[in-house]
Each structure stands twice: as C-alpha cells, then as structure tokens.
C-alpha cells in the first residue's frame, strides 16, 4: 500500500487541505515541513482517523470526548468532518489497483453533552477506468491492508517512538507488540490459522475412521478425545498461569528495580546512624566555635589587649616615672630626714639645728617645700611601683596578637568543619528523604507476596505438566489400543488414507511454522543490527565502540548489547538519538524482511538527533530501494530545525515537498495575513529552501529562503 494523497476537511483547523505524497520508487520520500503548531500532528491524527476512526486516535480516558472539529466552529451547527485517502494496493498476484477511502462524520460542536457525533460513514472504492467500484466492507479491507494493531509501525509519532523498546512499557506488552508485528507482517499468523485448520480436519477424519471401525474403536477414540480435551484444558490453564506469571514477573522485575534504586541510595538505618553522628559532630563544631568566641570575648577585656594597643604610651608614662626616680624626685625620702634632723637639733653635716640657729630656719623652709610636693610625689611613687608590678606580672605587648591568631585559627577550623559537616548532613538528609521508608516496606512486602505467588505458579505449572504427561501417556496407550482394534477391523481405505495425509500435513505445517518463525526472527534480527549500527556509526568489532550488537530474543525483546557483552537498558543507557535509531531500524528491518509495501509516516523523527547520526539516519530511512527491496514510502513530518544539516539529503531523496502553515501564527511568525475569519491550516508546495505568500515567516530571511511572490497553494 502506498498513499497517493489525502484530502482533509474540517478536521481541527484543517478546513480544506489536500496533500499529495510521493509514490515514485526512485524518490520514496515526502517531506512535510511545518513549524511547531502548524498542523503536522493534526495531519497524522487526521490520517489515523481516516483509516481507523476514533480507534485510531491516541487512547484517552474517554475517546468519544475527543473533539474532531476546530474550537472555532460555531456551536450548535453540525460540521461534516471528512478525510479521503487515495492509495495504491498491490495484491498477492502482483496486480496494482488504486483505491479511495472516504470517512465522514457529522459532529456538532459546543453543545452541552460534549461534541455529539453521528455514525462514521466509511466508503472504499476501487478506482477503475470504467468507474469507481465500491469495496465492502471497507473497515475490514483497511484492517487487512494496514492492520490497526500495526499502526505503530506505519504511523509513528516521534514522542511515542520507544513503544517497541522501552522498559517503561510492560515487558509482556512490549514483547507482544514485537511478536505480533513479526507474526502479522511475516505472514506467520496466516500459517498458524492454516495449522489449526489442518488439525481440525485431521481430528474429524480420525473420528470418522474410528466410528467406522466398530464400537470398541469408537469408545477408544472418544476416550482419546476426552483425554485430549483434558490436555487442552490443562494447556489452557497452563497458558493462563504462564500469562499471569509473566505479568507477575514484570511486576517483580519493576519492584526489584525500584527497591534496588531505593536501597542504592543507602540503607536507612545506616543513614540514620550517619545523620546522628553528623549532628553530633555539628554540635561539637558549634561548641568549638562558641568556645573560640568566648575566648575572644575574654581577650577583649584583658590586659594584653591594653598592652598591645596602648603599650607604647604606657611605656612613655613609665619612662617618665623612671626619669623622676633617676632625678630622685620620687620617692620623696628627704621629708623624713629633714624632720628627724630638726628634732635632733643637729644637721647631717654636724651643724646646729636647735631653735634659734640660723640653719634651722633654712631647713624648716626646705621641709615646708618638701611637704607641698609630697602628695604628688607619693602618688607618682605608688604609680611607679604599680607599673613595675604590672610589668613584672607580664607586660607582653605580643601576647594579645598571639592569642588573637590562636582564637581566630580555632574558630576558622571549627567553622570550616561545621560547614563541611553541614554539607554532609544535608546530603545524608536528602538521601534519607529520597528513601521512602513506607515504599520500601510496601515493595518488600509486595515482592515477598509476588515471589510466593510466582513460586506457587511454578509448582502449579509443574503439576499441570505432570497431568499433561499422564494424559498424554494415557492417550498414547489408548491410541495403541485403538491402532490394534483398527488393525483388526479395517475402516474405509480412502478415509484412512485421508486421515494419514491430514496427519502428515499437520506435522509438516507445524514444523514449517516453527522454522519460519525462527528464521524470520533471525533475519529481522540480523537486519535490525545492520541498520542500527549503520545509523549510529558503530562497528561491531570496533574496540572503543559502545554497542556490539542488537538482537531480538526468543521472548521477542529487542536488546542492545554493550561492548563487554552486557545488555544495555534502552531507557537509561541509550541516548535519545540511539533510541530513535533503534526503533526506526526495527520498523525498517521488519518491513524489508517481510517485503511489505507500506507507508511509513513519522512525525518529528529527528528531534534530539544531530550531526553524523542525523545524516546517516535520514540516509538510511529515505534512500531509494535497492536490489530486492520492495518499494516503500516514507513521509517525514519535520520542523525547520530538524531539516537543518540534512537539507541536501532530503532534496535528493524527496519526490514531494509540502509546507504546512497555520494562520494563527500571523502576525507573530507569518509575514502575510490570509484574511480568514478563523485560524486554518493550509499547505503549499514550498521546499525547505523556498517561501511564498502562504508560508513566508519572519525568520525566513535569516535562513536565506527564496521567496516566490505567489501563493504556491496545492
């Protein structure tokens, strides 16, 4: 199937848009360029709706509540929403025909009960020179040509691109998607139906042969049938249990992972102990800080500070006192001597100092003078002695400086340690906050519970296997008895031959089915690796490469191997570009191996991709088919920034370029006003190097686009 064109009417802001796609095998690419909000995703959804109706749109809680019409449509008036898709289909015989699929529905916007819609009117026509012929039923045809359950392969949104690889999708769901895609696209599903049909025919023939061989044989056959039914019941039970086991194992894996993450942060008790130690250390640091500050305060009121600051002037005072002492002004000892001499009446020189003597009068005058100075001298003397006492006790002008440095150093050391400890404490507390203790307990309990259930399941599977083995033994015995009976009483020869042929066919079909499935998976796996490594530019045997290989496991998981052989987590160990590369490689390899001709429409595939990977990715997914590759069609919905770096490649491989724009962007981004009453999306045929009156944007000059002075509407 190759899509030739789509016409969209009244779907969101696409009031009347027609887009033609390239169906040229030599230029399989159609580039639909549009900036954010221009309508690329609207186009994707319109096509999905056109093909699959509301089921095709993204799953939301209430799909019917999704509005198809623009919010600008007047309330109360029914609007005909219509999508018409014209496509080519080549049948199994190699005949190619053109079809037109038209889906229409009436939606009434803005009423109280939401957006009531009528029944979809879906019509499919085969286009022929003699006139269009309706094809019935249209939905079934579309489901056959491009099955809805595989729509992820054909229509991929850049944001949902990890559906086939992401660990965030439940593993059984992911595996089922890959498995289903492989079975459907490679025709294995049809073979399975065929095997079931042959089994059914074989069973009927067996019953008929037994019925014709007498009541004993019939009874034995009925016994075998009953046993087989019991085996089937047991197998069904086993299948149910296995599915349940898978779901439980998925949960177990997720819970273990979450628990390991939580435990990886740190054991709670250990963290609590660490936090207590850190808090204690914090307190000790704070105490050290406070002690250093207290020492400083003590130093502020101590004598050393006084010496340190005013020592020079204090020493000057002391020096003056010493000078007075040297001049014998202090201490004043002459006062006592003079008093003693006057009392004795004899001078120290032997002269008479008795009353009436001439010298006594002179000595008395000296005594009076000394008495006047005695008070100040006394004070100076005392001060001199006090000063000497202070000096003797420690007149160290450097003591304060030493103490200052010591207290500052102590404070700084304590403070630094406090800051470091605080950081450690905050980190530990953050870690502890991250550990949701309740969640750890819940997970532990859940894991214990699910572990037990899985264990019970394994035991139950074992019991079922034993029962099946016993039943199969009984069937073998009965069949042996039956063979003996049948040998004695031969049934209709033709019937026996038919039965035997049917049995041979059954065995053959089952073997073919198993082999095909294995072979196809291997082929897809090999091609997947080839494409993926080619896109990301890795060599499997390169010593320094990160990736060694990609494969599809028996469980239909897509796994990426690292250089040292370990499996990489596609969510966490693959960057965005590699994730996209892997998904695209899977889709491409699958379609190549299946030889399917189908559109591959991808919305914004190149986000997060740049440089060489971007070049190789575009080259891989857009190159014309070579050798035995079937024709294919690639429709890329790209923003301007995605086109950067790969413009030339796109121009080489693109058969059609379309630019879509939305009038709501005028005047902020668009240059021209389209003069409409409401915002609408329009398409023009401009390439990434052109602009016209529809798509011209204010930023175009910066990109050097060639302006076509016309509306290049299509």
């Amino acid at each position: 199937m190759l899509i030739r064109s789509v016409h969209i009417a009244n779907f969101k802001m696409m009031r009347d848009v027609t887009i033609n796609f390239s169906v040229d095998p030599a230029r399989p690419l159609t580039v639909i360029r549009g900036e954010n909000g221009s309508g690329k995703t609207t186009l994707l959804y319109a096509m999905l709706w056109g093909l699959y109706g509301m089921n095709g749109l993204p799953k939301v809680a209430n799909a019917d509540a999704l509005r198809l019409t623009s919010t600008f449509c007047p309330a109360g008036s029914p609007v005909a929403v219509e999508v018409e898709i014209v496509f080519d289909h080549t049948d199994d015989m190699g005949m190619t025909s053109q079809y037109r699929l038209r889906r229409m529905v009436l939606e009434t916007p803005g009423s109280d009960s939401g957006y009531p819609r009528g029944q979809d009117d879906v019509k499919l026509f085969r286009l022929a020179p003699e006139g269009d012929k309706p094809v019935m039923p249209a939905d079934a045809w579309i489901e056959h040509l491009i099955p809805h359950r595989l729509s992820d392969l054909f229509f991929t949104n850049g944001d949902d691109i990890q559906k086939f690889i992401s660990g965030r999708v439940h593993s059984h769901e992911r595996q089922s998607k890959v498995h289903q895609a492989i079975r459907e696209l490679l025709g294995i599903e049809q073979l399975t139906t065929g095997v079931a049909d042959v089994k059914h025919v074989f069973g009927n023939l067996k019953r008929r042969v037994s019925a014709e061989s007498g009541s004993d044989a019939q009874k034995l056959e009925e016994a075998c049938e009953a046993l087989r039914r019991q085996i089937a019941e047991q197998e069904e039970s086993r299948s149910v249990i296995e599915d349940r086991q898978k779901v439980m194992e998925t949960h177990q894996h997720e819970w273990e992972r979450e628990l390991n993450q939580l435990r990886g942060i740190g054991d709670l008790e250990e963290l609590n102990a660490q936090i207590a130690t850190l808090k204690s250390r914090m307190r000790a640091c704070q105490e050290r800080e406070q002690a250093a500050l207290a020492d400083m305060r003590t130093a502020f009121r101590g004598q050393p500070l006084s010496w340190a600051l005013a020592g020079t002037q204090v020493d000057e005072g002391r020096a003056k006192l010493e000078e007075l002492a040297d001049r014998r002004v202090i201490p004043n000892t002459s006062l006592k001597v003079l008093e003693d001499r006057l009392e004795d009446g004899e001078c120290i020189c032997g002269s008479d100092l008795h009353p009436g003597s001439g010298l006594r009068e002179h000595v008395q005058q000296l005594l009076e003078e000394q008495r006047e100075n005695s008070e100040i001298a006394q004070r100076l003397t005392e001060l001199r002695y006090d000063a000497r006492g202070l000096a003797a006790a420690g007149a160290d002008t450097e003591e304060f400086a030493r103490r200052r440095l010591a207290t500052l150093a102590e404070y700084t050391a304590a403070h630094d340690e406090l800051v470091r400890t605080d950081v450690e404490l905050k980190q530990a507390e953050t870690k502890r906050r991250l550990i949701d203790d309740a969640r750890v307990r819940t997970l532990t309990d859940d894991l214990a519970g699910v572990g037990k259930k899985i264990g019970d399941g394994v035991l139950e599977l074992g019991r079922i296997a034993e029962r099946i083995a016993a039943f199969e033994g009984q069937v073998a015995d009965r069949e042996q008895e039956l063979a003996a009976v049948l040998k004695k009483r031969r049934a209709n020869h033709d019937l026996v031959i038919k039965r035997d042929v049917a049995d041979d066919l059954r065995i053959l079909a089952e073997q073919v089915q198993g082999r095909l499935e294995g072979e196809y998976v291997d082929k897809v796996s090999a091609r997947l690796q080839e494409i993926f490594l080619s896109i990301i530019g890795a060599e499997p045997d390169a010593r320094l490469g990160v990736f060694r290989g990609v494969s599809i496991t028996e469980n239909f998981d897509i796994v990426v191997e690292s250089q040292n052989g370990t499996t990489l987590d596609t969510d966490y160990e693959l960057n965005g570009a590699s994730q996209r590369a892997l998904t695209l490689a899977f889709i491409w390899s699958l379609m190549e191996v299946a030889g399917i001709t189908a559109p591959r429409l991808i919305d914004t595939p190149l986000g997060m991709v740049s440089g060489g990977v971007k070049q190789r990715m575009v080259s891989t997914i857009t190159h014309p088919p070579t050798g035995d590759e079937p024709p294919y069609q690639v429709i890329l919905l790209l923003t301007r920034s995605e086109i950067m770096e790969v413009g030339e490649l796109l121009a080489q491989h693109a058969g059609v370029f379309v630019t879509i724009s939305c009038s709501k962007d005028y005047p902020a981004d668009l240059v021209y006003d389209w003069l409409g009453d409401e915002p609408v999306i329009r398409a023009c045929s401009c390439t990434h190097e052109q602009s016209c009156r529809i798509c011209a944007r204010r930023i175009d000059n910066a990109h050097g686009l060639a302006f076509r002075d016309m509306a290049a509407a299509i």
Binding site: R301, Q303, Q313
Partner: protein, 138 residues
C-alpha cells in the same frame, strides 16, 4: 601589688549618644563585650594608639553609661590610664583627676567610632571585632 587607689570613682563616664546606641547592643551574654566599660576601654586604647581624640559632645548628645568606680574592678586599667596620662601630659596631670578622665574620654570617643564601624552589619560581631583588632594593622 598593693591595692590601687581609684581616684576617679566619682567621675562620670560618657559616650556620644550615637555610638552608645550601637555599643549597648553589643553588650551582654554572647556579645563581644560583657560590660560597656570593656568597649569604652578598647575605644580608649584605640584612641591612644592612633593619638587621636574626639571631643565629648554637648550634654544632650552624650550618655553617661557608668561612673569611674567601675575602674576598680580592673585596677590595672587605672594604672594604664594614669601611665598614659603621665606619658601624654606629664606627671602634673595626676593632681587633676577630672582632666585624666576627660583625656581618657576624648580618646575613647575616637576609638569607639572605630569599634562601631567594625561591629556594624556583622553577622558574628565578636569574630568581626577580633579580625579588626589586629595590632599589626592598627
């Protein structure tokens, strides 16, 4: 050492009002100064070290924070005060206690301004003050 006689016990000790408002906020438990006299004394030492004074402002712009009796609690301060006074003004000044107190007050006023500048706006004033009181830099 014999008991030091405090001849300044009767004298009033003043600070300029604007400086006192800051200093009193830094006196008390876990503050740089246990008592206002401790701040005043450092101010005095700073004024002496720089050889600078600031006159006592008018009575309405000054605050009596204590009297000279407080000096008795640290007798060495009396000795330092008198030695500084003798060094600066000669031994005669000791006969004029009021002049000694005035000399000290004017030096303290200068130093208190430096202290206030060092303390203002600091998260840990004690630490800031210790950083400031670097004899090598003052």
């Amino acid at each position: 050492m014999a008991e030091v006689i405090n001849r300044y016990a009767a004298a009033d000790l003043f600070m300029p009002d604007d400086l006192h408002r800051v200093i009193r906020e830094h006196v008390g438990v876990n503050q740089p100064f246990a008592r206002q006299i401790d701040a005043w004394w450092i101010g005095f030492c700073l004024g002496v070290r720089h050889g600078q004074t600031r006159p006592l402002p008018a009575p309405d712009k000054r605050v009596k924070f204590m009297d000279g009796a407080v000096l008795s609690s640290d007798p060495w301060r009396i000795i330092h005060l008198e030695l500084v006074a003798v060094g600066l003004r000669g031994e005669e000044i000791l006969t004029r206690p009021r002049e000694v107190v005035q000399l000290a007050t004017e030096h303290a006023n200068y130093g208190l301004e430096m202290l206030v500048n060092a303390l203002t706006g600091q998260n840990e004033p004690t630490l800031a003050l210790m950083n400031f009181l670097d004899p090598a830099q003052l």
